[in-house]
């Protein structure tokens, strides 16, 4: 259809016709509305008049009590304590400005906060109480009580304040609650939430918000014709929030946090037989209690801008290269696809080359490891063995084998905020880098380098499957019955056993890379890894890690489980900028395992070092 010409008179006629139609609609709708009001106010007047006269019952909301959080042995982790806050209802004050000024003599309010309050009062509906100060001290409560008559619009209200008993160790796992914000409130059922309630902001508090919150009850107040209160009764008690019973052991959680010393990073300990997470820390933590009644901007900025990133939950959001900790899985893939056998050997001369290519892929040991089989290659972490294996497998088979272990997938852990990460594949590279996959990239994938972005929780889920020889129990932090999943392929028992042997050799064989954490009392199986840190400048690449500033040093990784024959605990440790897995991460893993073994088996403490 070509461009039509405007016909002003015709258009004006159409418009007038529409306006006339609109007027008819408006008048008709108004007439209908008025007839509704006429019906209510004139025809049904008598009945409503009687109802108004008899109206003496008011229904108000009783807030539910937030569920408590316990560890696996019933130790309290998060509780509610009765606290008092000062509120003002602008409508009921006689001179708001003056009274606000006078109140500061009874209750300390910083000037900065006062300015903010005055700003808030402008937006707050006058008939709604506004909190002036949460968490009053006992002295403040007492001082105000004596002077109450001077402040008609002001009142002290008791309320339940969330308190965390181990705020630093559990800062990321449990998370914290804060005042519900507009966006959060808008997405909730207003018959369940009030506008000034707590709402889980991070961690378990967020993930289990609905269960922890509960449902409000109804309070019925009877008043007389003058509005005086006569009686009060609970019409419907609130449905309090349910308590959470975690699979976490508070002692192990504390031990894991302390094992880091000054290092930063993350550690996760799980029971591979049932998927229960025993400890899950991200270091450094921070004091979550300061968030509950609103953290000051200064303190918040300090946390947000700290180079150690305490607010960042490394355990489920931190993305790392798995480094050599991927080797046990590569070994499994090789055995499964029958590219290698336990007896198969190859010669490591220190580097690996693809056919007809110049580039050399190096072993970490100059001159190589000599003739090695699979178990040796795991024990000594022989790169060349895995370069070759990866090349034989090809990227597609590697991807399809690793994905079911949850590498680069959401594990579905019951803590809010999990990140997906990246498991490299042809498709991923095409979609995200718009480039084809190069064979050299397959080679370094064999030692866990390249495009990998894996979170500690993914490593823990994979390790749990590996340690239990194929039992796929979804990881969780709150006690519950989850049906086990299954790997889409069946790996033979002796293949699992071979890889376990290799991992046991890492710690217990004379040539193992992590001999230093060997225990006399029980067998530990494990694997170290190094996760490269990018962003180094050109001239820094050839420097030794020790010569670099700390934030450019490589991350240290360690995965381990014990006892090797019948694993009860599997541990993943990431020590950021710890340089090498054996040096920085392995001792942390050992320390966590040792705490567990001491607590659960009558072991002598002497084995410790």
């Amino acid at each position: 259809m070509g461009r039509q010409l405007k016909q002003p008179s015709h258009e004006k006629r159409i418009f007038t016709e529409r306006i006339v139609f609109s007027i008819v609609v408006v008048l008709l709708v108004f007439a209908l509305l008025l007839s509704r009001y006429f019906y209510l106010q004139v025809i049904k007047h008598e009945s409503y008049k009687i109802q108004a006269e008899q109206n003496k019952i008011k229904i108000t909301r009783i807030a539910p009590t937030r569920g408590l959080i316990y560890d696996r042995n019933g130790t309290l982790l998060a509780e509610n304590v009765t606290t008092y806050r000062l509120e003002v209802t602008a409508e009921k004050t006689t001179n708001l400005e003056q009274e606000l000024l006078a109140i500061t003599q009874l209750v300390s309010i910083e000037d900065e906060l006062m300015a903010e309050l005055k700003e808030q009062l402008k937006f707050n509906p006058v008939f709604k109480p506004l909190v002036i100060k949460p968490k009053l001290t006992e002295q403040e409560v007492a001082r105000f009580a004596v002077n109450q008559h001077r402040f008609p619009g002001f009142a002290i209200q008791p309320y339940l304040n969330r308190r965390y008993l181990f705020p630093v160790e559990f800062s990321h796992l449990i998370g914290y609650v804060g005042k519900i914000n507009q966006a959060e409130y808008a997405a909730q059922d207003p018959s369940i939430y009030a506008k000034d309630e707590y709402f889980g902001k991070t961690g378990l508090e967020k993930y289990y918000e609905q269960q922890l919150h509960g449902e409000p009850g109804q309070l019925v107040t009877e008043i007389n014709a003058q509005g005086k209160q006569l009686t009060q009764r609970i019409q419907q008690p609130p449905n309090n929030g349910t308590h959470l019973y975690l699979t976490i052991d508070v002692a192990l959680q504390k031990a894991a946090y302390q094992a880091f010393g000054d290092e930063t990073g993350a550690a996760i300990a799980v029971n591979p037989q049932n998927g229960e997470i025993l400890a899950m820390v991200s270091k450094p933590g921070y004091d979550t209690n300061q968030f509950i009644s609103g953290i000051s901007q200064k303190n918040y900025d300090e946390l947000a801008n700290s180079p150690d990133k305490p607010l960042f939950d490394r355990s489920i959001k931190g993305g790392y290269e798995p480094g050599s900790t991927i080797k046990p899985y590569m070994a499994l893939a090789g055995l499964y696809h029958q590219l290698i056998t336990p007896e198969y050997t190859m010669y490591s001369n220190g580097y690996y080359q693809l056919p007809k290519q110049k580039r050399r892929y190096h072993d970490w040991k100059q001159g190589g490891h000599g003739q090695v089989n699979l178990v040796n290659s795991l024990a000594e972490s022989v790169n060349v063995f895995f370069y070759d294996l990866a090349y034989k497998l090809g990227i597609d088979r590697i991807h399809d084998f690793l994905a079911p272990f949850q590498f680069g997938q959401l594990t579905g852990i019951d803590v809010a905020g999990e990140k997906k990460g990246i498991l490299p594949s042809r498709q991923w590279k095409q979609a995200n880098r718009n480039m084809i996959w190069f064979p050299g990239e397959t080679v370094i994938t064999g030692i866990g380098q390249g495009y990998f972005v894996i979170t500690p929780i993914q490593m823990a889920q994979a390790l749990s499957v590996l340690a239990s020889q194929g039992k796929f129990n979804p990881l969780h932090t709150v006690k519950q019955d989850l049906s086990p999943k299954e790997l889409p392929f069946k790996i033979a028992d002796q293949d699992w056993a071979t890889v376990h042997d290799g991992m046991t050799a890492v710690i217990n064989a004379p040539n193992g890379t992590a001999r230093s954490i060997k225990s006399k009392a029980y067998l530990i199986a494990g694997k170290s890894g190094t996760s490269q840190v990018y962003g180094k400048r050109e001239e820094d690449i050839y420097k030794k890690n020790e010569e670099l500033p700390k934030h450019l040093r490589n991350h240290a990784l360690f995965i381990a489980f014990a006892p090797a024959e019948q694993p009860e605990i599997a541990v993943v440790v990431v020590a950021e900028h710890g340089v090498s897995g054996t040096r920085a991460a392995a001792p942390i893993a050992k320390s966590i395992i040792q705490s567990y073994m001491q607590a659960n088996h009558s072991l002598l403490a002497e084995d410790n070092e």
Binding site: T16, K49, Q297
Partner: protein, 358 residues
């Protein structure tokens, strides 16, 4: 410069009607919330009327010229809310800034402006090409607001755009087709509602099922209205209001207060004022000199009418509860400012046309 800027007086007929309505509202507000509320509302009204006066000075060609810019600006603000609204530390921050309300409120003006702009030069009724563009423009705005999530405002904003399409003269067959389609898609839409939204609708069908929350509010509101009778209980004498049975009586439920204290007579008076304002605005729209001005004024008037209908229907129990204030009467700054600004556009269209005729 002064001369140029202050020579346009807003249409006196419309101004007198608006001032009558506003004064009536303040009288009711005094009873509902006391002198503190009246003082604050008066300050906002002052600002709003000043805005109306200043907007009247702008030549309508400027609105037309800047329509796309204003539209893109408000869409960007909507996106900004989407991204930054939640990541800001706590709740208070973004409420303090007031950003959370502004962009969607702004859309109630900028969207009809944009749709009218699309149709400004094309032959009317618009062909499919222009209708598609209009649908996209409306969809973006309403979709972003729906995602906030604010279904009620999203529907109202979409309506403000659709009114322009209606006034542009699309065929009745198409209108009926759209209405049938909308009715047919209700069961599909139902799936996308939040649980509480579903409950509100169910509650509306059977208010006694939810005695604590909205159902209770509506029951109390109906008692307030009905007990008012023909002449009302008298100013500040309404027991429902004064004894706090009525919820949010200075904002969404202010018409219940009016009904209780001034009776059916008071309601009649209010609707008379509203009807006269609407008629006057339609008259201005009809007299406007070009397509853009006509469509914009007409759509702004229709959305004003829709607000009145929703609020009056909601509090008397014939429409489900959506948080829509009673235009120019309910306590609250944002909606007041937006409404007076849109009346400013209407008076601008009227005043500038007159001078050109001379």
């Amino acid at each position: 410069m002064n001369k140029r800027f202050f020579t346009y007086m807003p249409d006196p007929t419309l101004m007198i009607l608006l001032l009558l309505l506003i004064s009536y509202g303040l009288v009711v507000l005094y009873s509902a919330g006391g002198i503190v509320l009246v003082e604050r509302q008066a300050v906002r009204l002052g600002l709003g009327l000043l805005a109306l006066y200043l907007i009247t000075q702008i030549r309508p060609e400027r609105f037309e010229q800047f329509s796309p810019l204003i539209y893109v600006g408000s869409v960007m603000l909507l996106i900004a809310v989407f991204f930054f609204g939640i990541s800001v530390k706590g709740a208070q921050r973004w409420l303090d800034l007031g950003i959370s309300i502004q962009p969607s409120e702004l859309c109630k003006i900028s969207l009809p402006m944009m749709v009218a702009w699309i149709f400004r030069h094309t032959a009317l009724p618009p062909n499919w090409k222009y209708l598609t563009i209009a649908a996209v423009v409306i969809g973006i705005c309403a979709g972003l607001i729906y995602k906030q999530p604010d279904l009620g405002t999203a529907i109202l904003v979409a309506a403000s755009g659709l009114f322009v399409v209606f006034l542009a003269g699309i065929s009745w067959r198409l209108i009926i087709g759209l209405l049938v389609f909308a009715a047919a898609s209700i069961p599909v839409m139902w799936q996308f509602l939040h649980e509480y939204q579903k409950q509100r609708v169910l509650m509306f069908l059977n208010p006694e099922s939810d005695p604590l929350n909205y159902g209770w509010n509506i029951i109390q509101s109906k008692i307030a209205i009905g007990s008012g009778g023909f002449w009302g209980k008298g100013w500040t004498e309404g027991s429902q209001t004064q004894l706090d049975f009525l919820p949010e009586h200075s904002t969404d439920f202010i018409l219940s207060v009016l009904s209780e204290e001034f009776g059916f007579f008071g309601v009649l008076l209010l609707f008379l004022l509203y009807a006269l304002i609407i008629l006057r605005c339609f008259f201005i729209a009809q007299q406007a000199k070009n397509t853009y001005n006509r469509l914009l004024c007409g759509a702004l008037t229709l959305i004003f009418f829709v607000y009145i209908t929703i609020n009056a229907g909601m509090i008397s129990g014939v429409l489900p509860v959506v948080g829509v204030p009673l235009p120019l009467v309910s306590y609250g700054g944002t909606s007041m400012l937006t409404l007076l600004a849109s009346f400013g556009i209407i008076t601008a269209v009227h005043s500038h046309k007159k001078l050109i005729q001379q």
